[in-house]
């Protein structure tokens, strides 16, 4: 574990570093129904780091902003605010030509390979396209590389001449993974890569992703977007839980899922239908948390979860509305974001324990 050099607390610069990322979309609700034009804050103030070769899962429900975050990191969308450093460079200010060159270091796998693969191309063209775009190798070398990639994802060489429509969902996702890894990227963004797959196929693809992370020479880091905590547990070193555009808890997967600190994480875990059967204590937590997430068009002030939070509801309003947050070290090391009282206030004693759980997004300025 500890090398010859005395270990320091200074970590090497992460491969991907995201700070204060924010993105709002104009609301498309028309005036016909009496709605007023508003903006939907899909992502507000998201920060995280991803080290080389590591897997970070962004988990959350619909509207949490996890996919938007992925799109911002990929520069498929331009953020309103925030910084993204990738591989030592200011990723957001790279000019287009440099960005396009740099894209060979980033692979993507989307949820639905049925719509993300061009149905009129054959598999060889699809998997070899990133190599051709970045002018890697001669065409003969590229063909050889495609066959090697197909072999790595468990597809026979004959697959090369066939089209995506001739494959099952699981096989199509293997094709998408082969394509994403073709240029030996340093980062692969996996946006719900197994959500559309059947249980028995899902396990195959998850195992493949784990294996390829180790066997691909570039040892890619994974940014995994998902909602299934069971899947996350198998894949991710670290997990960040998102709610209404903010990260509400982050840490090593073992800690976040094993001893959740934020009540929303606890709710997510309790809501997962489990093979541990009914009548479990989780049921009472589920009953306590009624309601649905607020619309990202009108997020509640303060902690976005507080209207549903069994603990937050007990707090005096001024606390809920003005709570700040701070970084705290979990026993054992890694930082989690937790709550601090508003300036000049202390928490009412009865709620102090609960408040360690409740947290607001990290305020970076």
């Amino acid at each position: 574990m500890t090398g010859a050099a005395p270990s320091t607390n200074v970590r090497p610069e992460p491969l991907l570093s995201v700070r204060g990322l924010a993105k709002a979309f104009p609301s498309s609700r028309t005036l016909l129904w009496g709605g007023t034009r508003r903006e939907v804050r899909a992502v507000s103030d998201v920060s995280f780091d991803l080290a080389a070769g590591e897997t970070l899962a962004l988990v959350g429900e619909s509207g949490s902003g996890k996919s938007t975050t992925a799109r911002l990191v990929l520069r498929l969308l331009a953020p309103d605010r925030g910084e993204v450093r990738f591989d030592g460079r200011d990723w957001l200010s790279l000019p287009l030509s440099a960005l396009n060159r740099a894209r060979r270091d980033v692979g993507v796998v989307f949820q639905d390979p049925g719509s993300s693969l061009n149905p009129r191309m054959n598999v060889e063209t699809i998997v070899g396209e990133p190599l051709a775009i970045h002018r890697i190798g001669s065409s003969a070398e590229r063909r050889e590389r495609v066959l090697a990639l197909l072999d790595a994802v468990g597809l026979p060489p004959q697959a090369a001449k066939r089209r995506p429509g001739e494959f099952s969902g699981g096989q199509r996702q293997r094709i998408a993974i082969a394509r994403a890894l073709a240029t030996e990227p340093k980062l692969v963004v996996l946006d719900e890569p197994v959500s559309a797959l059947d249980v028995s196929i899902r396990a195959q693809v998850l195992n493949l992703l784990l294996e390829l992370q180790e066997t691909t020479p570039s040892r890619p880091a994974y940014l995994f977007i998902g909602h299934d905590l069971g899947v996350v547990k198998h894949l991710a070193d670290r997990t960040a839980v998102m709610y209404l555009g903010r990260i509400v808890e982050e840490g090593p997967t073992r800690d976040v899922l094993g001893s959740p600190r934020h009540p929303y994480t606890a709710l997510l875990l309790a809501s997962r239908p489990g093979l541990a059967r009914r009548g479990d204590p989780d049921a009472s937590l589920r009953r306590k948390v009624a309601g649905e997430p607020a619309s990202p068009g009108s997020p509640p002030p303060g902690c976005p979860f507080h209207p549903r939070c069994p603990r937050g509801r007990r707090l005096p309003g001024r606390f809920v509305r003005t709570l700040g947050s701070s970084l705290e070290k979990r026993a054992g090391g890694s930082p989690v974001t937790t709550l601090s009282p508003p300036p000049g206030e202390t928490f009412p004693p009865y709620s102090r324990n609960g408040l360690a759980w409740i947290h607001l997004a990290r305020r970076t300025s």
């Binding site: 249980v199 028995s200 239908p273 589920r286």
Partner: protein, 331 residues
């Protein structure tokens, strides 16, 4: 633990399906499916895509889309053979005897009709209520399924509601006609996990309040564990195992059930970055089912006989399994 009050008075099951077969053109997608559902019981029909579970549910009321049709089998509901019913009675049965909840309530609800008017129409048709009575009853259904602010919801079009609210409205619609059986086809698959938990709790509560039987069509063994009394596992158009949920989870017998349980990420409580035991291959397409046991090509325990001979179903009290090995282990 028997949550389901058994129908001791009559002894006959509420629903009885015998040797059901459904084909699209010449291709069978459901093949020889038989099962019963008792009053007040929650039965799960579990399978992956292509297993035939959805078509089985739809065929109960002849709702299989063209060109699919039932080519064999018998469906008996409340003691009456569905085939013998005139179209008028069949229509009364849809909603009045058997209610349906589908995966995507956004697609199942009429986009240009308010929830209130849909409910009122159902109540007038199936319950013969006057307009005013139906309106009052519709309101009470909306509060029963815990839709917030039911009065305001009455005038809402489906697109104004969230997915979870739409599914609550769908449940109210399915139950307003007073059915004894609710067929719920992946009712929570399109919903977020915290909302899913709420809908499942709602279904269980209504089962208890109304003595409703539920046929829950799902791919998710976690949901089965949480809400079902009994489970039917389907693979390639047939039922390969039936057991109480306790037994299915605790001592599965069919290699497919075992593999499904093992490969669910939920089930494997273990360290992160651990590999899951995966089932190789994929579910065979209808029309390309292997000759012997349909699971044999993917089965870790398959032997010669499995590839040539279709295993008979071994029935015993409380369950059945279609596997040569299960028979041998017993003897």
């Amino acid at each position: 633990m028997s949550r389901a009050p058994s129908d001791a008075s009559s002894g006959a099951p509420l629903l009885s399906v015998r040797s059901l077969a459904v084909a699209f053109g010449d291709t069978r997608v459901v093949d020889g499916v038989s099962f019963d559902v008792a009053r007040g019981e929650v039965v799960a029909l579990v399978g992956e895509s292509g297993s035939g579970k959805t078509v089985t549910g739809l065929s109960l009321l002849d709702l299989v889309p063209e060109p699919g049709r039932r080519v064999a089998g018998e469906i008996v509901f409340e003691g009456r053979n569905v085939d013998a019913l005139p179209e008028r009675d069949l229509r009364r049965l849809r909603g009045g005897g058997i209610g349906f909840v589908f995966q995507e309530p956004g697609a199942a609800l009429d986009p240009v009709r308010t929830i209130g008017s849909e409910l009122i129409a159902v109540l007038r048709r199936h319950r013969g209520l006057s307009r005013a009575e139906a309106r009052a009853e519709a309101l009470s259904w909306l509060s029963r399924v815990a839709l917030p602010d039911p009065e305001a919801r009455m005038g809402d079009l489906p697109h104004r509601m969230s997915g979870g609210m739409r599914q609550r409205a769908m449940v109210a619609l399915a139950l307003a006609g007073g059915p004894a059986l609710l067929v719920a086809d992946e009712p929570t698959t399109a919903l977020d996990v915290t909302i899913q938990a709420q809908i499942l709790e709602l279904l269980l509560r209504l089962r208890d309040e109304l003595g409703l039987a539920v046929l829950l069509v799902t791919h998710d063994l976690g949901i089965v564990a949480e809400v079902a009394d009994r489970a039917l596992v389907m693979y390639a158009g047939e039922i390969v195992e039936e057991a109480s949920v306790e037994r299915l989870l605790g001592a599965p017998e069919h290699p497919y059930t075992k593999a499904l349980l093992a490969s669910s990420p939920d089930a494997a409580e273990g360290a992160e970055r651990a590999k899951l035991p995966a089932i190789g291959g994929a579910v065979p397409e209808p029309g390309a089912w292997p000759r012997g046991c349909r699971f044999a090509p993917r089965c870790p325990s398959a032997f010669d006989r499995c590839t040539v001979e279709h295993p008979a179903t071994i029935t015993r009290p409380g369950g059945r399994v279609a596997c040569f090995l299960a028979g041998e282990e017993r003897s």
